[in-house]
């Protein structure tokens, strides 16, 4: 079965600092990968998805970006964090041979 690793688990960053959140998966090949954000008191919002290496689709225009340098690696980045970037970031996948979406443990980001 597939496993999703996210790190760090928690992160506190000052406004204007850069960000790099990493998601790696095991147990599947050629998965669809997703980044979601859950802001306080809100549901999950899709940020990016990727159907293959180097293929990134953005759902919401913002100061975040994503990259997929390897089949099982999905990175969320920012050059300059905003206060509004605070939230719970979840990486998810649909296995290469499947249709159910699985979620990672998440990273809680606080921007001060």
């Amino acid at each position: 079965s597939q496993t999703i690793h996210q790190w760090p688990a928690t992160l506190v960053q000052p406004v204007g600092s850069p960000l790099s959140l990493e998601c790696t998966v095991e147990g599947t090949s050629n998965p669809n990968l997703y980044w979601y954000r859950q802001a306080a008191g809100r549901g999950l919002q899709l940020l990016f998805y990727s159907v293959g290496i180097g293929q990134i689709s953005s759902e919401v225009p913002q100061n975040l970006s994503a990259s997929r340098p390897q089949d099982r690696q999905f990175i969320l980045s920012s050059k300059k964090l905003l206060l509004s970037d605070s939230g719970f970031y979840l990486c998810a996948l649909i296995p290469g041979q499947g249709n159910e979406q699985f979620f990672g443990p998440g990273t809680r980001l606080t921007v001060l």
Partner: protein, 114 residues
Amino acid sequence: AQSVTQLDSHVSVSEGTPVLLRCNYSSSYSPSLFWYVQHPNKGLQLLLKYTSAATLVKGINGFEAEFKKSETSFHLTKPSAHMSDAAEYFCVVRVRNSGYALNFGKGTSLLVTP
């Protein structure tokens, strides 16, 4: 576009009484619908899913949901609430045009009182 609306942001029930969490959907296609649960400081767990098979879907922990096309609803129910059911519940629809990503409702916070 596919979307869901959760009709209650908070629901409070007594332990042992039935649970009803309401969700309406909007979809141009026959939708794939899900319910997820999120316990405090934990990740998301899939409770159940509807993918155009049986309209009454049974999930884990005694939960079930009924797909009603005429009402565009997918309400989550449980006959008897346990204290451990207290959590945030999300109704979700799968979106065809975003790599089959999921579109989440805003969530319903379930409180179970003794």
